[in-house]
Amino acid sequence: MRLAELLAEILNGLQYGLLLFLISSGLTLIFGVMRVINLAHGSLFMIGAYVAYVIAGATGSLWLALPAALLGGALFGAVLERGLFRRFREREHLDQVLLTFALILLFEEARAALLDNQFHSVAVPAALDFSVPVVGDFAYSAYRIAVLGICLFVAALMFMFVERTRLGSAIRAAAENPEMVDLLGIDARRLHTLVFAGGTALAMLAGALAAPLQSVYPGMGDGYLIISFVVVVIGGLGSIAGAFWAALLIGLIDTLGKAYVPQAAGSAVYLLMACVLLWRPSGLFARA
């Protein structure tokens, strides 16, 4: 097995893992703090990608599309939380599963009505449209390295926010014990709106970043839905650190699995999740 190839695979795994982190970090926060299961999180990824397609198409530059996806996502998340999810916080898991199942269908129909069903590509920004020779004769797309960097930067930002700031501690507290938030005199409603908006923004940013990599097409979000839940479960509910390491672990296992054990790759991730649940039923990094 050539070392160059292994290195390339690891780099691929990290890039795929970090993108997964971006998506599942929002998911783990939303569930950790609000105890709400959001099956429509994959659709948010798709909407982010289409936002990038529309804006990059109109303005010709992806750099405008990324902040637009982030801010638009935050706004959209806040509206969703106030309008719908607020009333579903105490409801049973069954209601949340069905509400978000309905959202998947409605988002898909809205996309089909507003835009069309064709495949659209989003141009990689000219500045990054080249391949960086990494090792031997295998080169790696500069844009993918940029995505790697952006994801790491966002991850660092989130760590500082969650671990250092007061609001971050409130989020951690809420993740551990939702009732405690009211005791601490924090306006729970505002916290939930913020968390949901943040989670949505992160998912849409991930979509916008992925758009140039995989182009935009109907139903592109579905693939990421289940894998991001697996990351949340393995990482532990409400734990950003858990989501980070779990995402990297899955990114590597999935990529290396596909390279060396193609047949088993499909179910390798699920076996990993089953093992983790048996060993630590509340996830690797959840506080006991």
Binding site: E5, N12, D116, N117, F119, S121, F138, Q214, K258
Partner: protein, 389 residues
Amino acid sequence: MLHVSRRRLLGGAAALALGRPAFAQGAPLKVGLMLPFSGTYAALGENVAAAFELYLQERGGRLGGRTVTLVRLDDESDPAKAPQNVNRLLERDQVEVLVGTVHSGVVMALVQAARERNVLLIIPNAGNDAATRELCAPSIFRTSFTNWQPAYGMGKVLAAKGVKKAVWVTWDYAAGKESGEGFGDGLRAGGGELTQVLTLPFPETNFQPILAQLPGLGVEAVGSFFAGGSAVQFVKDYAASGLKEKLPLCGSGFLTEGVLKAQGAAAEGLQTALHYGDGLDNPKNIVFRAAFQQKTGRAADVYAVHGYDACQLLAIGLDASKGDARAIKPMAAAMEAAKIDSPRGAFSLSPSHNPVQTIYLREARGGENRVIGIAAEALADPGTGCKMG
């Protein structure tokens, strides 16, 4: 207006409690268009339906002396709902001819109904070999291709260029495996050899693991089969990994068909083989492309050609049986003997009712798949295992 979308309330369906209407000369003929109008393959479904209607309009909306009513049904490319959807068309809407579909899992339910009830079925796209091989039947026809055909053409071209060792990259599902076999047969016919088939679980889009392995395999060319969004990503990832110069990528036409603009520069110079392409200068094609552009505002593609030819084939059958869609024998005889004047170039049907057609060699230049040569002349699908009962 000929084109009838779903417009009856359930009340209408209840009125259907009466038995099957006897065939009356001149009574409107209902044709069921079961295609994907939502989900990943929606664009393909729309093109097939639009081209089918285009030819119908050219015939003034009448085939075999009967006015044709089209009944559209969105199959959502979901095989689990396919049996119920087929029932809706046959039992509730009383269609006499079935046309469909894109997803090869859904087409299985159509094939089952056609074989069991001896109803005329014209498949305008799904390429699963079985439909015109072991599952062939007198009432089942196809105007598109078998997965085997385009890939065989590409294999033959590579072998002719002196390629000795090549590898095939695709998803681990029916269409991927069948096209891999075609590619291997094409290579062997010209003295080449398919060393390996690299597969990914369907519908995986993380191609990096495969790309990183390619340099180390010691092959001279890489053939592949992907469609839709994944074809876009695979071609772009392939170019981004810098392999394009050292290890030329080629494949079945679907790698670039309908997605070439989305692939942009990454696809430049990429050679593919398919029974259709841009720049075919036969008169029928020129007229067809203009008419399709005028009707839909979109450029015609191979899927539109399939839809257009499906209606042409139906017309030939119905004219022969004077509009009686149940008279399979006379219709089949006429369709089997016919030479369809298709935009892709005239073609006839093989005994297993699959097109015997020329596979063109195309090269991606400036957002078009320009035809630059012939990969395989009048290629017929082997049709192994087809016993026409």
